[in-house]
Subunit: 202 residues, 2 copies
């Protein structure tokens, strides 16, 4: 779940602590959005989210001025989680680079496949710069790039693939898998194919 609660009023505005009910609603909204966006994607009407949170739309808009801002809050949290996991793989210098990359990508794909919102965000990588979490995605790309370079250096994957290729393959696969309703097993098979495609030609 991992929800941000602190600092809900603007910086340097020591006015007053947020009212108790307001805080409660804020979290209810985040929780509801997390659940519903994951299941149905961002296309879900905002009213549904409000209803699920047991709150009026007006209240929802008081906390998040825009549907996109709510979406952004959720996705940013999700990506933050991935960033943490990426770091673990990067720091674990024990395992071999090829395995580290593969393991991370599998995890990455697994999450993207079960959180509609996440992959909907990913598949926009490089499109409209307007979305504010694009810099989070940049960070993610950086980290994957580290793993990719190491794997390439170790000869575990081709040298001519770029990190953006990897992103495209994974997010594309997630997309297709999501839309045609394959099960977890089938999904991992797809990722497996992509991973073996990344290996150097024999």
């Amino acid at each position: 779940m991992a929800v941000r609660t602190e600092r809900l009023q603007d910086v340097d505005a020591p006015s007053r602590p947020m009212r108790a009910d307001a805080l409660r609603n804020h979290q209810k909204i985040l929780a509801a959005a997390e659940e519903i966006f994951a299941l149905d994607g961002v296309a879900v009407p905002i009213d549904i989210v409000a209803e699920r949170a047991g709150v009026g739309v007006g209240t929802l808009y008081r906390h998040f001025p825009t549907k996109e801002s709510l979406y952004e809050a959720i996705v940013t949290t999700r990506i933050a989680g991935l960033l943490g996991q990426a770091d673990e793989f990067i720091d674990d210098s024990a395992s071999d680079p090829g395995a580290a990359l593969a393991a991370f990508l599998r995890e990455f794909a697994r999450q993207a496949s079960e959180k509609q919102d996440l992959f909907e965000a990913l598949e926009q990588t490089g499109v409209d710069i307007k979305s504010r979490f694009s810099e989070r995605i940049e960070e993610l790309v950086e980290k994957i790039d580290v793993l990719r370079r190491r794997a390439a250096h170790a000869g575990a994957i081709r040298r001519d693939v770029e990190t953006s290729d990897i992103m495209n393959l994974i997010s594309g696969t997630c997309h297709a898998a999501g839309h045609s309703g394959v099960d977890e097993a089938g999904f991992q098979r797809l990722v497996g194919i992509v991973l073996s495609g990344l290996q150097p030609a024999k």
Copy 2:
């Protein structure tokens, strides 16, 4: 281009041949839609298509009772083209099965990547059955399945991949490539990765 012109009135309705201007408009609409859908995808407002065709919306709706019906007409034509090409690869018993599959998939992917509408249609494979061209896609899957089986039998690709896997990988890749604006070269690289991922483990 390849546009259907015949039989625009219902079957067994020998009433009268279509008026000349009507026929002309019909084709202008199809041509405009083909161009615009390919470029901008199905999401483009219907008014734009009408404008591009130099026709009022009313006229457009006289020829195609629904936006979806227009879309369907375009996509059906596109898929028909692919079916033809698939047959060529199937009939050409000279070339080796692995190469035939790869060549067809490359061509398939190339077309999907340059026709937004096509891949938007493909990525719905298996979702809503309502779209009437779903049976065309079935046909396509059948043909790809022939190529796949032969390639598998010849040992050119793994035996554990299903045709739906291939469809998912290709259409997913098209999707991602389309959304992140890679060039033709980058795109073929992605397809290449997928293709080599399909090969048996060394």
